[in-house]
Symmetry: C2
Subunit: 419 residues, 2 copies
């Protein structure tokens, strides 16, 4: 994409009412636009980052047998009444409206109920299990306050997966697989060494649920971390009893601030009984299906990546989610040879399937570099009279500023090698 064609531009300032660093930088870089508190549009650069995160999550969910669907946002009152979650006293984030044809309708803040109800069409016998299904869904939640940018919104994209298993043992096996898949996702987006499986409060069925908490100064959670064992405990379940159970000592725990990037939990047979999802076992006996639920916030993860990696110059995208693989910057100073050479390299990259943002704009070098720092594409290629005379381009890593001269002939190799 030629940057001169991109409809967004960088901005010196974010809206005055925006207090979250992630939203400030993403708005300034042209990734998102603020509609209202907690509600953001994804602009071309933001879409690309979100799609990269989705691609990674999709690959890992497919790898463990997940099947992708997309449920509706409009939801039936009757269904949520069955599980006693329609009442605003029970769930305080509902958006609700009136149907023209009569009756109330809800807007999806979560999807366990409709997905489990839908599954009734496809589950009769033990032979139909297990089933794993997931979606990337725009969730709508009527939050009272929204000051964390895209880390906690009224409208946000979440991957939610649901598992339907024959018994507790089969459920547990899949639950562990999801845990491993989640850790892989966080590894791939560059948060592996700062994201920890965290014990949190369970529910009617199990003692614990599990969160994935990423060390992040602006996170909303306080968790207690054992770095050696790579596990953490959410404040809400930190008791002597739990410590004994997990074989941890209070003295070995470090209090840290973290952002929840994923959470997984077991519903056991509670929801299946409420919603009437049963199967017949090998002896023809009717049994409730065991349900697991696995959330991972896509736009929240995008916000956390900004919070964690940004420096004083702007955003620093990890390579796998970077909106473009490379930011090609031409500093021609009016020299048409430099322009021609930059055009040539842009074409070369395209021919090799390397997606580049090409800063072909007629603006000062300083402005180009400042914009590139703000936008935060992981690798930068700079062409100028100087690099031209040396027969190559300058490769700069956004993360650590390391630079190297790369001869034109080696560009493709250097950009495709694994670091």
């Amino acid at each position: 994409m030629r940057q001169s064609q991109l409809f967004t531009k960088t901005r010196k300032l974010a809206p005055k009412d925006e207090v979250a660093k992630n939203a400030q930088l993403l708005i300034r870089g042209g990734f998102i636009h603020k509609e209202m508190a907690g509600v953001y549009d994804l602009l071309p650069l933001g879409m690309r980052v979100a799609e990269n995160i989705k691609r990674i999550v999709r690959e890992e969910m497919n790898a463990i047998g997940g099947q992708e669907i997309i449920m509706s946002s409009l939801q039936r009152k009757e269904l949520w009444e069955k599980t006693d979650r329609w009442d605003d006293e029970k769930v305080d984030v509902w958006f609700k409206s009136e149907l023209k044809s009569g009756g109330e309708v809800g807007f999806g803040w979560s999807h366990e109920e409709p997905i489990t109800d839908m599954m009734k069409n496809y589950v009769d016998s033990y032979r139909d299990l297990p089933k794993y299904t997931y979606q990337f869904q725009t969730k709508l939640r009527n939050e009272l306050r929204s000051k964390s940018g895209i880390m906690r919104g009224r409208e946000f994209v979440m991957k939610d997966m649901y598992s339907y298993s024959i018994d507790e043992k089969a459920h547990k096996e899949f639950y562990d697989k999801v845990t491993a898949a989640y850790l892989k996702v966080f590894e791939r987006v560059g948060l592996g060494d700062r994201t920890f499986l965290t014990f949190a409060s369970g529910g009617a069925f199990t003692q614990f649920s599990h969160e994935f908490q990423t060390l992040c100064e602006t996170g909303e959670d306080t968790v207690y971390l054992n770095r050696d064992k790579k596990i953490a405990i959410n404040k809400e379940v930190l008791t002597d009893e739990v410590l004994t159970q997990l074989k941890l000592k209070r003295d070995d725990l470090e209090e840290v601030t973290a952002a929840e990037v994923g959470n997984i939990f077991s519903f056991g047979d509670v929801k299946s009984k409420e919603l009437d999802l049963y199967y017949k076992d090998e002896k023809g006996k009717k049994k409730p299906v065991i349900l697991g639920s696995y959330g991972l916030g896509i736009t929240r993860l995008m916000g956390v990546l900004v919070e964690v990696f940004a420096d004083d110059k702007g955003i620093v995208w990890p390579e796998e989610v970077s909106p473009y693989k490379v930011h090609l910057i031409s500093i021609s100073g009016g020299n048409s040879d430099v322009v021609a050479e930059a055009d040539h390299v842009y074409k070369l990259l395209a021919e090799h399937g390397i997606e580049a943002l090409y800063d072909d704009r007629d603006v000062r070098a300083g402005e180009k570099f400042a914009d590139a720092d703000l936008i935060g594409i992981s690798k930068r290629l700079v062409m100028s009279e100087k690099t031209l005379s040396e027969g190559g381009v300058e490769l700069i890593h956004r993360k650590d500023g390391t630079t190297a001269m790369v001869p034109e002939i080696a560009i493709i190799e250097r950009l495709t090698e694994k670091k």
Copy 2:
């Protein structure tokens, strides 16, 4: 995908309250699930078809310079008040709700207003124009009745594009480009010879808008078609004056029933003035931006494809949108050689990047064929003792039932050749 793993199953019957053929077949085939009237979930097969349609549309929109974004569903009252479209008397399909923090919020039934407002951040000068932006958005519309399956829903996926041009001339040039791109989309999805550019009522700014109407017995529109000139006139604008203007004679028009699959129209400078989107021209003079709006219903198109092409056995997908490229069916009759050979072909297809639905289920041949007819994948490969003895597979085209024996060595070639 092994069919034994697919969580959906075919059904003999659709829900009793479902009167639309498209929804009946799509529900029976396991493509969609009905949440309520006019609201459907997309299940794995349905997702694949919708994604194929989106891919085609995305390619054509990108080809004319479109930049993809995704706007929020939640919308601000103040914005729609500026254009006098907040009032339920003016727009009768709004879903609205109350924000916990106070005030009303709307759910996006259309997006001209927020996109135009967002553009104000990026348009200052004539140098910033033109700009073309589009999204695949889940629209929510509070329709009183919804009896057309996924052809007219309360929740549906639409591609909407918006063009921002410097003047009427530049606008008209792009408008014509979009017209050509739309015709290409309908050509690619197999509706080229039955979809017609149709003159419909304009609005405050222009005499006409344009619809793309597909001949379809269950469509909601009556249009008057001149087959030779390949244009049609919507009933709503059919007057003697318009006929003279378009150089058409009433006698040369054929009354046909059609489904609207796209519509494009010019807002002129009306919305820009209402929402304060101006640019400075070369002389520094402030001028309103010219706006065009271009809709194409993704899920509606999916419904129309079913209505138009289905036969008495089930759905018939055109090749480019077929959920899988090929339906591989193993009729083993307990013969493990057939199973091994089918497994081998499945692997072979995967190695060549040909996505297949592999019916590896342990059910009767008749059931497999009936399901394959219902699901409607464009090409079918059948393996049995008979085909094994002949050293190949049977290739059957769903559309016309033509069959051919293909030696194993030629399978890949036959499946990748252009018809």
